[in-house]
Amino acid sequence: MPRPYPLLAVALDGLGWHPAAWRLSTAPADAPFTPGYWAGLVTEAERGTLDLVTVEDSLALQSTRPDGPDGRTDQVRGRLDAVLVAARVAPLTRHIGLVPVAGTTHSEPFHVSTAIATLDHVSQGRAGWQPRVSFRRSEARLFGRREVPELRPDQLDTPAGAALLADLFAEAADVVEVVRRLWDSWQDDAVIRDVATGRFIDRDRLHYVDFAGRWFDVKGPSIVPRPPQGQPVVAALAHDTVPYAFAAGSADLVFVTPADAGHAAAVVAAVRAAERAAGRTGPPLRILADLVVVLGDTPSAARHRRDRLDALDGAPLTSDAAVVTGTPGQLADLIAEWHRAGVDGVRLRPAVLPDDLTTITRALVPALRDRGLYHDRYPGGTLRDLLGLPRPVNRYAPVPA
């Protein structure tokens, strides 16, 4: 069951989502390359009883250009592997969901599956995964294993662009399918430790996944026993029809980017239509709206921070998601309005880290609680429990007679 109050997630990336974030951040400029920084962010998010954090990743260096480096020296460049960042903070936290990005185009599905399964074991059932499709040539060149045709953003709507994207998302759907089969390839009761027969496992409770597709084949079973959640949570960022369909067919959770409350209702309707078109049978997607947030004690303080950041970067902030510049109270009202419009919650992208995160945990969360819109404490359990998603039955387990 979806819960009656909004889900609250925070997206972590570098020193924040504003390109000039590092200029105002209270953290050292090289903090994103240190473990203490990530530990501090995620434990702060947990103090605020947030439901989950996502950890961004990309194989290529950050750039303002659509493909390839941009030569700029005034913005954060460089990042660590997101799955390992999530694993590093897992033992330091107890309740919060950990959802790193990992790629579907160049990475091995087997490695992704075992890494996320391990993250779920390490975190005792709090792992998720945000699959990321990679269409850039610069990323393909890092691997040298496949040719990706050059594609500028303005070519995405051409037939060639649409065909490439459709292929990459179809491949991503295959990757998710394999990853999910591998998670189920051990039944929960596979380990029997039967001294009388000398058997550690009942091998009839392990299963080959025997996936054969257009891009790859994977035999299985996994090397990792079934994760505590059965199926860790799969999340997808989706802006349009093709990724909506991918989310509807493959994900548990979708991050969308409406412009306002009215648009949010329309996006929810589009996602639900994609679910029907995909013939989705499981629980409906949990829909979180992404918001970039620049917060301040007063509307003018927030405005001032936003102006300073824009001035430092030399350009007004632009984003695929809506940008909210305001007080925690204003943001709480907006979240309430969007929740009424049909989204299950929001994923906030703090403009500056850790500063805007701290404002979220220490001012926004109390403001939501005052409105009866957020929990006072974690209810306990796994990330699936937080999201109101049941633990799935294993697809390979025999159905009880």
Binding site: W22, R23, A29, D30, F33, T34, P35, S58, L59, A60, L61, P69, D70, G71, T73, D74, Q75, R77, G78, R79, L80, D81, V83, L84, V85, A87, R88, A90, P91, S107, E108, P109, F110, H111, A115, A117, T118, L119, H121, V122, S138, E139, F143, G144, A190, V191, T197, G198, F200, I201, D202, L206, W215, F216, D217, V218, K219, P221, I223, P225
Partner: protein, 452 residues
């Protein structure tokens, strides 16, 4: 000062050396097991923790092998998590270079080095088997003869990537707005037989510069690979004579590669059984051997040598009278071959069984996997120190038979004696694994030396 001993803690693996039937045997997958062993090793001021890797479950007679521990975590993910429950311990893992690409693995290892404050190490292995390849996009594509060629170029490429950011690439000067010292850091181009890649690496230079590189192969090619590329060798030569011969052979190869003779440290895998008296230790060792070789396991190990279905044989009865099947197909998959000359080995085993009057199980216990050090804590400390001081080893990778408490007793009872002898640290003096091992930080290519 006497030579200092290097010690590592190997998380129990998925062969029959790991005893799961003992009441004290815990989970092979719960993170608490990994935490327990790592914290025990750190309490004992060990140099590093070691985790092996499997990428396909083992099979015997075409079915998943069920007699030993099955299932383990993803290596990198567990090591990253262990970085948060330890502060000094090195974190080493086996990572296969056949089923990974240099860009991604170099990035993950550099990440682990940052997340652990300079404690990462990589045991480089390659595999040419199509069986494991069935779990991967490329399948089993690598010719056996090219394994070390790929491994060598893989490590060279990884080092190019680790060197791609200058040590001072991120001034992060808020006053001037200069985040980077130079635009587009991490630029690299590598064109070789195995890899043709280019772009920009995303990870700034890590605390160790390069993670520590370990190698475990024993063939001449494997030894040459280690002599050229590795910092540590995980060796199988645990006895005094074999260890000394291996040590001498590797040193010669290291020198031929233009490196200092002690640039590569040699660490045999080793097992320890302790007792209050030597007799009690021997008794415990035999008990553990019987746990490691159940009746079913005895038959299975025999099948690996005979390469035949021997399921009809009585574990307490005599060995098969016929010779092993030496045709190409091996009955077991996902593990290395038992013997280079199965027929001769089988004949030796039969002769030994007849001479001592041993049935199959007792014979297998006799001829496989005897523990390296058995005795009182004082005796074990002395044997270990003697092996190190006489250059049969530079230290040991200890492989406990129990998860997760298998090294508790060693740390409590033997480590203090090694410290008393002045051959093992009483506390950590550095924070990185390179510092523990006395290895220099590699100079960034073309940038001159960096102070350690």
């Amino acid at each position: 000062m006497p030579k200092q001993i290097i010690l590592a803690a190997h998380f129990p693996g998925v062969n029959n050396q790991t005893v799961w039937s003992d009441p004290a045997a815990g989970s092979q997958i719960d993170f608490a097991s990994f935490t327990h062993l790592a914290r025990t090793a750190e309490r004992g001021t060990f140099d590093f923790f070691f985790l092996a890797e499997g990428l396909r479950l083992r099979e015997q007679r075409g079915r998943i092998h069920d007699l030993d521990v099955v299932g383990r975590p993803d290596t990198l993910t567990v090591l990253a998590a262990l970085a948060s429950v330890t502060t000094h311990l090195g974190l080493a893992g086996t990572l296969n270079a056949t089923f990974r690409e240099p860009y991604e693995l170099a990035r993950q290892l550099a990440t682990l080095d940052h997340l652990s404050g300079g404690r990462s190490a990589w045991n480089v292995v390659t595999s040419s088997d199509a069986f494991t390849g069935e779990n991967f996009r490329r399948g089993g594509y690598l010719d056996h003869a090219l394994r070390y060629e790929r491994a060598g170029e893989f490590v060279r490429t990884a080092r190019e990537l680790w060197d791609s950011w200058a040590p001072d690439a991120v001034p992060g000067d808020r006053a001037t707005g200069r985040y980077l010292a130079e635009a587009d850091p991490g630029a690299f181009t590598h064109v070789g037989e195995q890899f043709d890649i280019s772009g920009h690496f995303t990870v700034p230079r890590s605390p160790q510069g390069h993670p520590v590189v370990i190698q475990a192969g024993d063939s001449p090619d494997g030894r040459d690979f280690a002599a050229a590329h590795a910092d540590l060798i995980f060796s199988r030569h645990g006895t005094l004579e074999a260890g000394q011969a291996f040590h001498a052979d590797v040193r010669a190869r290291v020198v031929r590669n233009g490196r200092a003779p002690d640039a590569v440290k040699i660490l045999p895998g080793a097992t320890v059984v302790l007792g209050d008296t030597d007799a009690e230790a021997q008794e415990r060792a035999h008990h553990i051997r019987r746990q490691q070789v159940s009746p079913q396991t005895a038959i299975l190990l025999l099948e690996q040598l005979w390469n035949r279905d021997l399921s009809g044989y009585d574990p307490e009865g005599p060995l098969p009278a016929h010779d092993p099947d030496v045709s190409a197909d091996t009955i077991s998959q996902g593990r290395t071959r038992f013997s280079r000359d199965p027929v001769a080995t089988a004949r030796q085993w039969r002769a030994l069984a007849q001479e001592k009057g041993l049935g199959i199980r007792d014979l297998v216990i006799e001829v496989t996997g005897r523990q390296s050090f058995i005795g009182t804590p004082a005796s074990v400390a002395e044997q270990m120190n003697h092996a190190v001081q006489s250059d049969a080893a530079d230290g040991f990778i200890l492989v406990p038979h129990l998860t997760p408490g298998g090294l508790d007793e060693f740390v409590d009872r033997v480590v203090p004696l090694l410290r008393e002898r002045g051959v093992f640290r009483t506390g950590y003096t550095g924070t990185t694994l390179r510092e523990h091992l006395g290895l220099p930080v590699p100079a960034p290519a073309g940038r001159g030396p960096v102070p350690a």
